[in-house]
């Protein structure tokens, strides 16, 4: 999260919005964010799709959008009120 490149963030936000359009229709998707690569292979932040436990075989996600890598990771979030 150490990039301060404003142009990169503009591009990342557009890519995130495209990704949200593609995946938020899937019930298993709980969160899409821009952050550290959970695989540790990208020096720049990546797009992350958090999914709940269960069958996600029908979830088709590209490897990147506009050159920004996409990672799928587990995340089943509940309100903590």
């Amino acid at each position: 999260m150490n990039t301060t490149d404003r142009a990169w963030w503009v591009k990342a936000r557009k890519a995130r919005d495209k990704l949200i359009e593609q995946v938020m229709g899937y019930p298993a998707v709980s969160l899409v964010d821009i952050g550290q690569d959970p695989e540790g292979s990208s020096p720049m932040p990546v797009l992350r799709v958090h999914v709940q436990v269960g069958d996600i075989s029908d979830l088709k996600i590209a490897q990147n959008i506009d050159g920004i890598p996409i990672r799928v990771m587990r995340g089943d979030y509940q309100p903590q009120n």
Binding site: G35, Q80, N81
Partner: protein
């Protein structure tokens, strides 16, 4: 960035920001809500708790500067992870600012009262015993 919060359920816990500008979908009962401006917070180390049910509403503070960074609202147990709303988004939505000097003064006054409380109690106990 390292954060710290004090929540009703898990007390004082620490975390680190691993992602920003998230868009989450959460179920509040039968209602599905899409929540924007989400900060993702992971534990500093394995097996360290971040948050639990009842912690919503806690402020996540920058651990170094104690500036407000986020408002806790959700979390995951497996894996351990917390979600907070970006604090500036919260302040903008409510049209409020954080009056830091007043908060600091109030906190200081409260701390002073707490730190003297055990001494007062001990003196009272001593009086009770001697009586």
């Amino acid at each position: 960035m390292q954060l710290v919060k004090s929540g009703r359920r898990t007390g004082i816990t620490y975390g680190r920001v691993t992602a920003v500008e998230g868009v989450a979908r959460l179920a509040y009962g039968s209602l599905q809500r899409v929540i924007r401006s989400v900060i993702t917070i992971d534990p500093r180390s394995s097996f360290e708790p971040v948050s639990g049910p009842g912690d919503s509403g806690a402020w996540w503070l920058d651990a170094d500067t104690l500036q407000a960074a986020g408002l806790h609202f959700a979390g995951s147990e497996m894996p351990e992870r917390g979600l907070a709303l970006d604090m500036q988004t919260v302040l903008d939505a409510l049209s409020v600012d954080v009056a830091t000097e007043r908060v600091w003064a109030a906190t200081r006054a409260l701390t002073d009262r707490i730190s003297t409380a055990p001494l007062i109690q001990a003196e009272n106990s001593a009086e009770l015993i001697s009586a």
